[in-house]
């Protein structure tokens, strides 16, 4: 199955780094969004997106709010969501899990970690 990623981060640098890492892992299809609201619009417009990688801290709509919105929508509730964020304290991680992210990566990450988590999410 082809994977089309939606990469959501307000940092242009981070989006590029994630894109480059995905390319090095052999994933070439992706779309980008700079906040949760734009991400939701892209999800509505493109039903071929089947994996979401999102940051937490973003203007307009955070990654956590985006996750809740995706899970609340019948069409997108089962989408794999990988949270990639600097937030590494217990309460944040628990909060993200309660919002039902599929997995969680702490920045700065390595390509190996990103690959491992993508593989793990897809295998589940």
């Amino acid at each position: 199955m082809n994977r089309k990623f939606l990469i959501v981060d307000d940092s242009n640098t981070m989006r590029r780094i994630v894109v480059n890492t995905l390319k090095s892992l052999g994933y070439t299809e992706y779309v980008e969004a700079e906040d949760g609201k734009v991400a939701l619009e892209k999800l509505q417009a493109d039903n071929s997106i089947n994996f979401v990688i999102t940051d937490w801290n973003m203007p307009v709509m955070t990654g956590l709010e985006l996750t809740r919105a995706i899970r609340a929508n019948e069409n997108t509730k089962d989408l794999p969501i990988l949270m990639v964020t600097t937030r590494g304290v217990k309460d944040d991680i628990v909060q993200a899990l309660q919002a039902r992210v599929s997995n969680y990566v702490v920045k700065p990450f390595t390509p190996q970690i990103l690959k491992e988590k993508i593989d793990l999410v897809l295998s589940n």
Partner: protein, 250 residues
């Protein structure tokens, strides 16, 4: 006792009270004088403090602007670095493809030389020439080693790319500082207004709009895997109790 005498006694009593008040007032006079003197000395100090607060407050927009400039300039520079890294990737991939073609061509040439060698078994002179050609082709070109070197270059550029995540992390730290100093500006403005030392509407520089808190104030560039290990432990204990999760952090 007649009413007149009674009234006179009351009046005398009140006059004594008045006398006591005057005596107290006489004693208090130096204290009041000292207090007035103190206030007179204090007013310039308050005015100086007021000036300092206003000066500090007015410098905050410039400081905030400088912080934003640093963030923007860093992001621009990082974008340029990423562009160069992408170009290096592309060029290395091109060289790698060329090397692959060369390896393939070399294998074909070796096969041809072997075939030719079999055909000229009895021709000593031709065999000598063929050996010379064969040795020229080998000229120490270890193509596989070169391909491995290219893999090293790609690996190192990947490391550079990953290290550039520091930009996102420092941008969040700077955003937190920016938020803090703008909050300080608002507090100073309120302080000046409360003491009526300055009218909020007459500030030379207006308060900056408090930016949103879309940053992680605790963001840090930590390359150790401890942060991810904690996350992984929590995820693997997802169905465990809160106490079990707490133990991971103790």
């Amino acid at each position: 006792m007649s009413d007149t005498v009674k009234n006179l006694n009351e009046m005398m009593g009140k006059l004594k009270d008045v006398e006591e008040v005057f005596k107290f007032g006489k004693k208090m006079l130096p204290v009041v004088e000292n207090f007035i003197s103190f206030i007179s000395d204090f007013i310039p100090i308050i005015e100086e403090v007021n000036g300092s607060i206003e000066e500090t407050r007015s410098k905050i927009p410039e400081a905030s602007k400088q912080i934003n400039n640093v963030t923007n300039a860093t992001e621009l520079a990082i974008t340029e670095v990423l562009d160069v890294v992408d170009q290096i990737h592309e060029q290395v991939n091109n060289i790698d493809e060329c090397l692959t073609d060369m390896v393939s061509a070399r294998h074909s040439t070796e096969e041809l030389i072997n075939n030719l060698n079999n055909e000229i078994q009895d021709n000593t002179k031709a065999k000598e020439l063929l050996d010379k050609i064969s040795s020229k082709i080998d000229v120490g070109l270890d193509l596989e080693m070169m391909k491995n070197k290219l893999k090293d270059i790609i690996s190192k550029t990947d490391q550079i790319t990953m290290s550039l995540q520091v930009q996102d992390i420092t941008a969040q730290q700077l955003a937190a500082v920016n938020h803090l100093i703008i909050s300080v500006q608002h507090k100073l403005s309120n302080l000046l207004a409360v003491f009526n030392l300055s009218d909020k509407d007459t500030f030379a520089t207006e308060n900056l709009e408090l930016p949103g808190t879309h940053f992680d104030p605790n963001a840090s560039y930590n390359k150790s895997s401890s942060g991810q290990d904690i996350v992984d432990s929590i995820i693997s204990n997802e169905k465990a109790s809160q106490d079990d999760i707490d133990k991971l952090f103790s």
